[in-house]
Structure formats: C-alpha cells, structure tokens
C-alpha cells in the first residue's frame, strides 16, 4: 500500500476533492464566511471571530453531546428543559452557599443524573429515546416552573460580580466561553476517535445487533452516552447562568435542542446513525451562529430569520445527502 501512495504525484485538486467529500462542513462554513465578508469587509478580524466563537459556545457545547447521541442512533429532545431546571436550581444553590465551585459541581452532577435516568428508561424500559425525552422535556420544564412559581431565578447581587465574570471574562483577549468550547471540542474529539467508548458509539449507531453480538454492553454504552450528554448540559447550564445571571423558568433554554441537532447535522452527522464527526459539529455550530449574524448584518427582518435559517439548513443537508447517494 505504502508504495502506491509514494508513487502517486501530489495532486492538489484530488486533495481538495477528498476534503470536500469528507469534510463538507468546512466548505459550507467558508462559503458563509465569504458571504459575510461581502456585507462586512472587516469581518475577518480576531475580535469578530472570537465573538463568533463565544456566541456559538452555549449551543455548540450542547451540540457536541448531541452528536454522540445522534451517531448512536438516539435523540434527546429534553436538553432545553434540562438546562432550565439545572441552571435554576444551580442559582438557588449559589445564592444559599455562595460557592461558585459548588454550583458548577452541582450543575454537572445534576444534569448527568437526569440524563442517566433517561438512559435507564431507554435501555431497561425499552422505550424509544424520542418518546422518553418528549416526556422528560415537559416534566423538567414543569418542575422548574412550579419551583419558581413562574418567575425568574436571579443570582444574588452579592455574588453577581464574581459570578458574571466567568462568562464575560477572557484570557489574553480570548473569551472564557470560547476557551470552554474549544477545550470541550478537543476532549470530545479525542473520545470519539481515540477511545473504545468512541468506537462503540459508532458501532451501536451502525448496527446494534452486531454490536451486542460482538460483546459490547450496548445498554451500558447507551446510558453512558446520555450521561456524557448530561455533562455537556451541566457545563452549558453553568455558563448560561453566568451569562444571563437570571434564568426564567418558563422559557430558558427553550428549543436549544433544535439548534443542537441542527448544528450536528450541518456538521455532517448522519441522522440515521453511524456517521458523524465532532469537528464537523464544531463547524456546524459556528455556521449556525454565522447564519444568524449574517441575517442581522444583512438587515433581514427579524421575523424572517427563521425562514432563511431553515432554508440554509435544508440546503446544507441536501448537499450531504446527495453526496451519500453518489457513494452508494
């Protein structure tokens, strides 16, 4: 094999072709960036790109977890409600204890607990993830609205300055949020490509029976995938609380699951499972945010943003599905 590769002359076009078929998401991102440059000539600056990263962080981290869930052939519709309940209770704990560390630990642990319960219903209860999370979406939301009696959870003013700086601050001009997104992207990439657990995610999404017969403990891996989703939700809830400093129980995190799914799919994750890349989701999340920024920059009426966003998502997916059918 190695001989053949050495003999082949370097062919730039072929490399680009390969990159295009396997990493389409980079091209769609660049395309969007070029369009943006037409509207805003100064867009390619450190500030605007790091702002883009920061804006993508909340939904981006969720999308990282969602990518694993979708690759394994499952779905989690309740992450928005999960954020509301975790962030709401987290703020209560923060106000009572005054400890930011404690709140962070709580957020992650609590979300992981909730998603583990979902995982158990899916595996032991043998209920489709779509159905389980449709139920938990409304259960989580209802609990937090009841606890807050419809009102918001506000961070106490004594802690506010210390707490706010987490999401608002930066290290050497790079926003903390962006750093969190990049670090988690790297960690999740390593998990998906270098670990046995990562292999199993793809295997289960590709052929569950074959996974079981290969000795993979399918149920355990599924619960772990949901728990990892929970960890991402936990981190997001913490950052969300710090950024917003107030969580309105009734609509915090509303429809975030849809954006997370959209980011994963724009990034090339196959909705039928078995295929997808964390790096794709990273660019998918950036593209999704870039679309929103584009619409603002192009002064498109805010009521129409949904229309344009949806159309672009459809176009991105069409591009990918066409490619897939060509291969077969």
């Amino acid at each position: 094999m190695s001989e053949q590769i050495e003999k082949k002359p370097f062919n730039a076009l072929e490399h680009i072709k390969y990159l295009y078929t396997n990493h389409t998401y980079i091209f769609s991102f660049i395309l969007l960036l070029v369009i943006m440059l037409f509207i805003n000539h100064d867009y390619l600056s450190f500030t605007s790109l790091s702002t883009l990263l920061m804006q993508s962080t909340i939904k981006g981290i969720l999308a990282l977890g969602m990518t694993f869930v979708i690759i394994s052939g499952m779905i989690d519709l309740s992450i928005g409600s999960n954020i509301a309940i975790t962030a709401g209770l987290g703020i209560v704990l923060l106000n009572r204890s005054g400890s930011i560390t404690l709140m962070f630990v709580f957020c992650v642990a609590f979300s992981v607990f909730l998603t583990a319960v979902i995982g158990l219903f899916v595996t032991k209860g043998r209920i489709a993830p779509f159905v389980v999370t449709l139920a938990t979406m409304s259960i989580f939301r209802s609990i937090i609205v009841q606890l807050g009696q419809g009102g918001p959870f506000n961070v106490a003013s004594s802690i506010l300055p210390r707490f706010r700086v987490i999401a608002a601050g930066s290290v050497m001009k790079v926003p903390n949020m962006a750093i969190a997104f990049i670090v988690l992207t790297v960690i999740m990439t390593v998990i998906s490509t270098q670990t046995k657990f990562g292999r199993y995610i793809y295997a289960i999404g590709s052929n569950e029976t074959a996974s079981r017969l290969s000795g993979i403990n399918v149920n355990r891996v599924k619960v772990e995938i949901f728990m990892l989703m929970g960890a991402m939700i936990g981190v997001t809830s913490f950052l969300f609380a710090s950024r917003m400093t107030s969580v309105t129980a009734a609509n915090a995190g509303m429809s975030y699951e849809m954006d997370a799914i959209a980011a994963a799919i724009i990034g090339g994750t196959s909705f039928s499972g078995g295929r997808g890349r964390i790096l794709g989701t990273f660019f998918g999340a950036l593209s999704l945010q870039l679309i929103e920024n584009l619409l603002v920059a192009a002064k498109i009426p805010p009521f129409l943003t949904g229309l344009v966003k949806g159309t672009i998502i459809l176009a991105a997916i069409l591009l990918q599905s066409k490619k897939e059918s060509k291969k077969a």
Partner: protein
C-alpha cells in the same frame, strides 16, 4: 410470453475499476440459465445492467432481435423483466396481497382500493404456486422462507418474460425449494425464461438447462449442464484446481472442553446435551424449525435459557452475558452477516477490531497501531483482498467481508469457536479458505462447533454431527457413519414418525 435475450460484449467501469469486460450471454425462450461465478465475479453487476440499474460503458442488450438503447428500471419492467434480489424487498408492515400489488393497486370506480379483488387474485396465485400462505397476513408475521416465497410470487404476479433470481433459496427449506423448482419448471413450459444465480451446485444441476460462468469480470464459458459435472464446474469458477481441504488429520483428543447439559429455551429447544472435545469439529444440523438458530445464540449467551448449564473446561460458563462468555474463551461468528456482523458505517479495520476491544476490558483508549498489527496478522492468515484498511467494509465482496468477520473473532483468541452458517452467501474460493481455517484452528488445539445445513460442508469439516429435529437432539453421528441419507433421515424426524405410527 417469449423472450430472446442477448447481452453482447458488455463492459462497465466504476471509476477506474473495470467490473465487467466484454461479457456476453444468451438466453432463449423457456430456458433456465444458471449464472455462476465467485462473489465479485460480476454476476450481480451484469444482472443490474440488464435490469437497467447501471448503464453499461459499452456493449449492447438485444431483446427479440432489437437493440435496446438506454435501458432503465421501468423500461426493463415494461419488457417483462423481473428481478428477485437476494435481499428481501417485501414490506414488513403490509399484508401479503398489498405487497403483491404494491404500486400496481387495483381500484374501484370511486378511486378506493379494490381489496377484495386484489386478495382474491393473490389467493389464486398462492393456489397455483401450491403455497399455504394466507394473503391477509402481515409480512412481519411470516417466517423468512415465506417472505422469500412472497417475493417470488410478486415477480410472477404480473406478466413476466424473464425472471432473474439472485440466490432465491438461501432461506428456504428443502421442501420449499422443491416447490419453487416445480414452479420454475411450470413457468418454463409456458415460455418464461429465467436466469438463476446460486452457489449451490446440486440446485443448479437439478433445475438449470444452460450455464454461463464468469470470473473476475470476464466471460469464461457457456454450455449445457448435461455436458459438465460439479468438479469441472468448480474448476471453471475458481480457475485453478481446487485444493481438496477435507478434514485431513484427526486432531480430536479425549479432553472435554465444552459440556452442555439439559439446555432448554421455551418452545425453541428442549433438554439439549452434548460434549465437545479439544481439537474437535462438531457440526450441528437439521431443517428449518429445529431450534438450531436459537441454540447457537444460547451457547454464546445471546439468548436467555429457561434451564440447563454449560461448562467450559470444567467451569460454569456465565451464559447470561455475552461479554463474560467471550472472556471465558468462547467466540461466535453469527449467521446472516449483514444483519448480525457488519458495521456498514465503519472501516474494514474498525470492523475487524471490535470484538477484541470489547473482550479486553480495562483499557480506555483504542490503540490503532495495535489494531493494525492484529489485523495484519489476520490478513496473512486468511488472504483478505482489500484496497485500503480505512475503506468502508461495504466496499468488499461478501467473501472478503466474511473473512473480516472471522478475523474479528480470531483476534479474541478463543478456545472454542461457534460458527453459525459461516459460509452463507460466500463464493467457492472463500468457502474453501474457511474450511482450511477450521483445520488450522483445530490443529492448534482449538475446538469448533459449526452450525450448517449443507451436507457437503458438514462432511468436509466435521468429526461428529449432531442432528436436531423440532428442538431436540435426534441423533449424534460419527464421521464414519455420516451419509447424506442418514442426515436427512434424522433431520426430517423419519425415525420418530415411524415410531408413532405403530
């Protein structure tokens, strides 16, 4: 009804790969034409060209003396060409008659479906085909062989002139195969032609008139079946004198390594007991409905049993959990490769390494270098033909896919290998390599349980043969008393039926 088909000098390229070069085939009216060749020889590609699925790069399709330009799927259908694919294409959630009339539904004048008429015509066809299938049943409630028969019924429901059958008998019992063959002979009398693709020599010799052999995308030979024998045919397909790899040396010892006692599982099988010796190849056979499929799963911990135990080298085998069974030194190559073994979205390398990773707990990271090293050893052992290890496994031919699955299990270095129909749907060459591998395993002190229903295969590899009938062990035959007649006698339960009559 008559058709006169000639495919002339057909070539096709997929990218730079030439799948067919200059292949020709003639099929006359009322002829059953066997199309033979190893997997990857180009049989399916040729048929896909005929059915209008791929356009040929060059060559002509001539039907009734006229060249057909630009064959498409619907054009082929209009010409009366039907294609019965190897994979079932019936729809599980529709009824039998709904499947038969799919996309050709009959309607009443008011536009609603004429269910009565469709059901009646379907029932009529079932009668003609001599099948006891209730046309109102849902496909999902039928067993696989019946689904296959519905598939065939669908092909002849509407006027057909040429029927292409791609391994239609894989999941049929002998009786159903006879029904199918009778049906084919009747169709032939009425002038319908058939192209029959199969790996099973006895079937081909019993039903086909003519043959065409392909190898590596090239035309090798055409002729009449009565002028050739099975040995000659095998040589044409493989292209070299097949090395007979009969069970050469007896490697069986007296040490019992695997002991099944009183294993029962609901209605599937009852009170199954047998022992396996070190270095032995034990075959398990029977006919459809004998509970073998469920037994193979139970031996590996993939199916809960209602009672019974298994001991491996004297220790109880934890048959409640596949992972534990694997760690105790048992490996299983499941039947139905596509449904039970293949990860279509993963690379060849990742497909091969899966069981090893699952077996060896502890390590968190997957070591690609180590995966490559293990796979490299297996490739040498089994002669897997592949382009690049990072390509999708689906880019391989069936035989090579199966070799990768075997590699997956050999990597786990088990003491006992359960092979459930390991040569299902693979070509002759790959089959022989599987047999060679079994010999190699047992001479290395491993033991093998092979589930199979093909006598030549069983005779070739096994030391003893367990024959099952309706969920119980009906006979255990030693190699020296094993004949096809005896095997059939016990697997049809002939000995038991005689007893009850008295």
């Amino acid at each position: 009804m008559n058709i006169d088909l000639r495919m002339e000098n057909i070539s096709i390229f997929f990218g730079e790969f030439q799948a067919l070069s200059d292949v020709s085939i003639d099929v006359k009216s009322g002829e059953i034409h066997g199309l033979l060749g190893e997997n990857g020889a180009g049989k399916s590609t040729l048929m896909n060209i005929l059915a209008g699925i791929y356009p040929p790069s060059s060559g002509r399709i001539i039907i009734d003396g006229e060249t057909v330009h630009g064959m498409t799927v619907s054009r082929a259908a209009d010409l009366g060409i039907r294609f019965i694919h190897q994979e079932l294409s019936v729809i599980e959630d529709l009824r039998v008659y709904e499947n038969l009339f799919l996309s050709k539904e009959l309607t009443l004048k008011n536009g609603f479906l004429d269910k009565k008429e469709m059901a009646a015509r379907s029932a009529e066809l079932m009668r003609k085909m001599n099948l006891d299938i209730n046309v109102g049943d849902y496909i999902r409630d039928l067993d696989t062989s019946r689904k296959q028969l519905v598939e065939i019924a669908k092909a002849i429901m509407f006027e057909a002139r040429l029927i292409i059958m791609d391994e239609p008998t894989t999941s049929l019992t002998n009786k159903e195969i006879e029904v199918l063959f009778d049906l084919m002979r009747n169709l032939k009398k009425s002038g319908v032609s058939m192209i029959y693709i199969s790996h099973k020599m006895p079937e081909l010799f019993s039903v086909c008139d003519k043959y065409t052999v392909l190898r590596d995308g090239r035309f090798i030979q055409s002729g009449e079946f009565r002028t050739i024998d099975e040995h000659g045919m095998t040589e044409l397909m493989v292209g070299r004198s097949v090395v007979e790899s009969e069970r050469s040396a007896v490697t069986r010892t007296d040490e019992v390594v695997f002991e099944v006692k009183g294993l029962s599982c609901g209605d599937f099988f009852r009170d199954v007991s047998f022992s396996l010796y070190k270095g032995e190849v034990l075959a398990l056979t029977g006919l459809f409905g004998d509970g073998r499929a469920e037994l193979s799963e139970a031996l590996f911990g993939a199916r809960k049993v209602t009672s019974g135990t298994i001991k491996k080298s004297g220790a109880h085998l934890p048959i409640h959990d596949i992972g534990s069974v694997m760690r105790a030194g048992v490996g299983m190559v499941p039947r139905s490769r596509k449904e039970r073994s293949i990860f279509p979205d993963l690379s060849i390398l990742n497909n091969a390494s899966m069981a090893y990773l699952a077996k060896n707990r502890g390590a968190f990271f997957a070591d690609r270098r180590d995966d490559q090293r293990r796979f490299g050893e297996m490739v040498k052992l089994m002669n897997v033909r592949y382009d690049h290890e990072d390509n999708f496994i689906t880019s391989l031919s069936g035989g090579n896919q199966q070799k990768v699955v075997l590699a997956r299990w050999l990597e786990t270095d088990a003491d006992i290998y359960i092979l459930d129909n390991p040569t299902q749907g693979i070509d002759v060459g790959a089959k022989f390599e599987v047999y060679k591998l079994i010999n190699l395993l047992t001479s290395g002190g491993k033991s093998v349980i092979i589930f199979s229903s093909e006598f030549p295969e069983i005779y070739r590899v096994c030391d003893r043969c367990v024959v099952m009938y309706k969920g119980v062990i009906n006979a255990v035959l030693d190699r020296n008393e094993l004949t096809e007649i005896k095997m059939m006698y016990y697997s049809t339960g002939a000995n038991l039926e005689a007893g009850t009559r008295e």
